[in-house]
C-alpha cells in the first residue's frame, strides 16, 4: 500500500495524477476463507480491517452485493456523537468516538472527521428537564457534555430563530463539543484500503443467495459468484438483516424503515456546528462544500424501497424554515433514502445467533454511522474470539428473551 503524504501528492502531481496506485484490488473469490463478512459498508469493511490488523486474521473476504459504501454508509447525514443515556450505550458509542479521533492517522486516509460540536435543542419544559437529566448522566460516564441557555445557543448558531414567540421556541440545548461530522465515503474507502493491504479480499457485485447450514452450524455461503466455504460468517447488512436471518432460518426483532436526507444548494459558511432537534425531528449541518445537509425522520412502515414519503420532507422542511428562517430561500438539490434496521429498544444487536459460527451485527437503526469504528472493532473481536467483546456483550440477541433491554428509544438524544 503506497503511503499517502504531501510528498506522494507532489510526486504524483508532477505526472499529472496519472500514476496513482489503485486503493484496493478486485480479486476473484477464493474457494474458502477463515471468516466471511457479508456487507461491504463501513461496519463490514471496518470489521475486516480490525480482524486483519488487530486479531491476526487476514484470510477474510468481504462480500458486497453492490459497490462499497453504497448502502447506508453513503446515505446518512454523517453526524458523529456519543451522548447516549444508558451506561452500555455510552461505553459503546464513546469507544467509537475515541477511535474516530485517531482514524485519519490510523488509516492514512483523510476521513475529514471534524469535531465541530453537536447541539441538541430543547423546545419545551419537558425537553429541557429531559436534556438536563441526560447531560448529567452523560457527564457521570466521563463523556463531555454541557448545557447551553438560549443566548448561548444563539451565539453558537446565529442563524437559529431563538425568539420566544416562534413556533418552536428554543429554551436551550445540550452540546457535545467532541461530536461533529465525517466524510462518509472516505470511511468505507479508508477501511477498504487498509483491509486490502493486509490481505483481505474485497469482492464487489457479489450477492449472497443462501447460507449453507448443516447440523446447526454454518459451513459456507452461496453467492452469485459461486460457493464459498467458511466456518465463520459475520453478517453486517443493516436493512437486509431480516432477509439474511430468513435464509438462516430464524426470526429477528427488527423492522426495516426508510430514512431520508437531503442537501440544499451550496451557500457561504453559515453554520459551524451540528444542530439537532428531536421535537421536530430534524438534524442539520453544513458540509465543506457549503450545502446544508438535512436529516429527516424515518417512515413508520416497513419498506425496502430506498426512498421515503414526501410528507416527511414537507414536515421537516416546514419545521426547519421556522427554526432557521434563511432556509426558506434555499433550494434543495438532492434527496435520498436508506433502509434502516430498527430494533424494539433502538439499540444494536451484536454477536452470536442460534446458528453456530454465524454472527450478526445489526439493528443500528437510524444512528449507525457514528458507531462505525467502534461497531467494527467490537465485532471483529467477537468474531476472532468467538465470544462477545466486553462492550458488545450487553447487546446480544438473547436480551430480547432475558428482558435486559437497553431502551434508548426514549432516552437517546434524538427520538427515533
Amino acid at each position: 500500500m503506497a503511503k499517502y503524504s504531501i510528498f506522494s501528492l507532489i510526486r504524483n502531481g508532477l505526472s499529472y495524477h496519472r500514476n496513482w496506485q489503485r486503493a484496493w484490488r478486485s480479486p476473484e473469490p477464493k474457494p474458502d476463507y477463515d471468516i466471511v463478512i457479508i456487507g461491504g459498508g463501513g461496519h463490514g469493511l471496518g470489521t475486516a480491517y480490525y480482524l486483519a490488523r488487530e486479531f491476526g486474521v487476514s484470510n477474510v473476504a468481504v462480500l458486497e452485493k453492490g459497490w462499497l459504501g453504497g448502502g447506508n454508509t453513503g446515505r446518512n447525514t454523517s453526524i458523529v456523537r456519543s451522548n447516549y443515556l444508558w451506561d452500555e450505550s455510552a461505553a459503546l458509542y464513546e469507544h467509537a468516538l475515541k477511535l474516530w479521533e485517531g482514524l485519519s492517522q490510523e488509516l492514512n486516509f483523510n476521513v475529514m472527521f471534524s469535531q465541530r460540536g453537536v447541539m441538541n435543542l430543547a423546545h419545551n419544559l419537558h425537553d429541557w428537564r429531559e436534556l438536563n437529566r441526560r447531560v448529567h448522566a452523560i457527564r457521570l460516564n466521563g463523556i463531555d457534555s454541557e448545557i447551553l441557555n438560549a443566548q448561548q445557543v444563539k451565539a453558537e448558531a446565529p442563524i437559529l430563530n431563538v425568539s420566544q414567540t416562534s413556533r418552536y421556541p428554543i429554551m436551550g440545548a445540550s452540546m457535545q463539543r467532541r461530536g461533529g461530522t465525517a466524510r462518509h465515503d472516505a470511511v468505507a474507502w479508508g477501511y477498504a484500503r487498509g483491509a486490502d493491504a493486509r490481505g483481505v479480499d474485497i469482492i464487489q457485485n457479489c450477492a449472497v443467495t443462501g447460507l449453507d447450514i448443516r447440523n446447526g452450524r454454518i459451513e459456507g455461503v452461496e453467492t452469485t459468484r459461486g460457493r464459498i466455504k467458511t466456518r465463520k460468517v459475520g453478517v453486517v447488512v443493516a436493512g437486509h438483516s431480516s432477509v439474511l436471518a430468513d435464509m438462516a432460518g430464524f426470526r429477528m426483532p427488527i423492522e426495516s424503515n426508510p430514512l431520508q436526507a437531503l442537501v440544499s444548494d451550496p451557500v457561504k459558511p453559515v453554520l459551524d456546528c451540528v444542530i439537532m432537534s428531536s421535537a421536530v425531528h430534524v438534524y442539520v449541518s453544513q458540509s465543506d462544500k457549503g450545502e446544508l445537509v438535512i436529516g429527516a425522520g424515518s417512515d413508520l412502515y416497513v419498506s425496502y424501497a430506498q426512498r421515503g414519503s414526501f410528507d416527511i420532507i414537507e414536515g421537516i422542511m416546514g419545521a426547519l424554515c421556522e427554526l432557521i428562517p434563511m432556509v426558506s430561500r434555499l433550494k434543495l438539490m438532492r434527496q435520498w433514502g436508506g433502509i434502516v434496521d430498527v430494533t424494539p429498544d433502538r439499540s444494536p444487536i451484536i454477536g452470536a445467533t442460534p446458528v453456530e459460527g454465524l454472527f450478526f451485527n445489526c439493528g443500528w437503526g437510524t444512528g449507525g454511522f457514528k458507531a462505525t469504528p467502534g461497531s467494527a472493532h467490537v465485532f471483529a473481536a467477537t468474531l476472532a474470539k468467538g465470544e462477545p467483546h466486553r462492550l458488545a456483550a450487553p447487546f446480544s440477541l438473547d436480551r430480547f428473551r432475558t428482558g435486559h433491554l437497553i431502551d434508548e428509544a426514549g432516552a437517546a438524544a434524538v427520538a427515533h
Binding site: S242, P253, I254, S256, V302, S303, Y304, A305
Partner: protein, 93 residues
C-alpha cells in the same frame, strides 16, 4: 404509495393514515404455558419481509377505523386493503 384505499372511505391521501406494523399476530392463548423465547418471539420478532407484507393501518384523520393492507415492500405498491377480521387475500407483487 400516495393513495390508500380505505375499506370504509375509499381512496384517500397517505398523510391521513398511520401504519401500526405487522398484521395477523395472534397473542398466545396461555402466556404462562410458553417459554421466555416463545414470548419474546410474540412480543419482539417480526417477519419484516422483502416482498408482500400484511400490515395494520388506521385512518386517523378520517374515519379513525383500523384495517389491513397487503403491500409490496420493494415497490411500496399497495396490493389489497381489507377489513379487520377478514382473511388475508393471496396477492402477488
Amino acid at each position: 404509495m400516495f393513495l390508500i384505499e380505505c375499506p370504509w372511505c375509499g381512496p384517500r391521501q397517505q398523510i391521513e393514515f398511520h401504519c401500526h406494523g405487522e398484521a395477523h399476530i395472534a397473542r398466545p392463548v396461555d402466556p404462562d404455558a410458553i417459554s421466555d423465547a416463545e414470548w419474546a418471539d410474540y412480543v419482539f420478532n417480526r417477519t419484516n419481509p422483502k416482498g408482500v407484507h400484511y400490515e395494520r393501518w388506521v385512518h386517523n384523520h378520517g374515519c379513525r377505523r383500523w384495517f389491513n393492507v397487503a403491500r409490496d415492500t420493494v415497490s411500496d405498491r399497495i396490493l389489497a386493503t381489507y377489513r379487520v377480521g377478514e382473511k388475508a387475500p393471496k396477492v402477488t407483487p
